[in-house]
Amino acid sequence: MAANPMTQFNVYRIGPEIKVGEIDISFTNASLFMVISTIAILFIFNFGAKKNSIIPTKLQLLGELSYSFISKMISDTAGSKAKPYFSFIFSLFMFVLFCNMLGMIPYTFTVTSHIIVTFVLAAFIFIGVTIIGFIKHGLGYLKLFVPSGVPMVLLPLIVVIEIISYLSRPISLSVRLFANMMAGHTMMKVFGSFVVSLGIVGGWLPLSFSVALTGLEILVAFLQAYVFAILTCIYLNDALNLHH
């Protein structure tokens, strides 16, 4: 059982089965780690925001650096019009980051390694951005699919490609995060099991590889959260500032 590198992604019920109608909404290990991430974020940033000293404390510095990091990211990619969505992107980045990072602790569960979670987030972003686009520009938002400066002959083809690429946004966004997290964790599990099977003689090579992979995975965990957030900003930018 433990040899299968996919068992770490198993979702199982914690506590009683909860059903609303036909739908099963039981509390699972995935739910547990969502709750832990949320509490951890709220805990850290609450204490980071509580004190207001001119020379910041460590937690305060963490909160303020994160704040300015994300606000700079948003203003760089989506401009000043994206300010109302700051809280959402901040929450999104922190949620994905904390889920990724908590998943790096051995024996924990990585919430973002499940396609359904990332897909729901991505679909929500996709739908939200589309609605914002239509509210801001009305039907003019459809100009997004008609790039300027394209010869009339190519236009039908380009429009089709643009529409396909637009519609594939939630899939690419969700699969990118999910696949990265799943692949990384699977690799680590595989190399970990190599260490066990090769024993004290041959196990050193996969062990060192495992150590290197852990560093890489922490980088990936941060990077994917960043990519998720910055792509959201770029989609938002498309909706807010129609360039085409």
Partner: protein, 192 residues
């Protein structure tokens, strides 16, 4: 029934081969739709709470903190600039005072030196006058003494000579003759 159709289409939409494998051997737990609704439900709950608390409570506070820090730093900078200007002005004032007092000291020194010199001059003049006076009176006295001295010398000479004659001869000689001789000799000396 409707729910099942949605689930199946979603699963196919993601990765149809994976789904079939998962159904066969439990390969990818991600594609097992058993807990999908639970995950969606808890995701909405946790993310919703996270978003609400962050946007309503925590982020405004952090933003406020940053703003107050910014304004306070600016204020402090302004204050320090003001204080620097003040201290510079004070320094100038201080320099002026020192310059003034130096000039004052020079003046006082010069004045007192002049006074002293005048005083010394006055005193010297007075002293010189006094000395001159004294010298004159003394000179006058000497002059008088000089005038009187021949007569006295004559007298003494007469007396001495009369005494000598008396002791030598043992007889009184006429005073007038002696006087005549003495004056004669004195006159001779004078001419010498």
């Amino acid at each position: 029934m409707f729910k099942k159709i949605i689930l199946k289409t979603l699963a196919v939409y993601f990765l149809s081969i994976g789904f079939i494998q998962a159904a066969e051997s439990g390969g990818m737990p991600q594609l097992d739709p058993e807990f999908w609704f639970s995950q969606i439900f808890w995701l909405i709950i946790t993310f919703g709470i996270l978003y609400l608390v962050l946007s309503k409570l925590i982020l405004p506070k952090i933003s406020d903190n940053l703003e107050t820090r910014k304004s306070q730093v600016l204020e402090n900078l302004e204050l320090s600039e003001k204080q620097r200007n003040e201290s510079e002005a004070k320094l100038k004032e201080f320099d002026n005072i020192i310059l003034k007092s130096k000039i004052d000291a020079k003046n006082i020194f010069n004045e007192s030196r002049q006074k002293l010199l005048e005083d010394i001059n006055n005193k010297r003049v007075k002293l010189e006058e006094e000395i001159d006076k004294e010298i004159k009176t003394v000179e006058a006295e000497i002059e008088e003494l000089k005038k009187k001295s021949p007569e006295r010398i004559n007298k003494i000479a007469i007396e001495i000579s009369s005494d000598l004659i008396e002791q030598l001869i043992g007889a009184n000689v006429n005073n007038s003759s002696i006087t005549a001789i003495v004056t004669d000799i004195a006159n001779k000396n004078k001419t010498l």
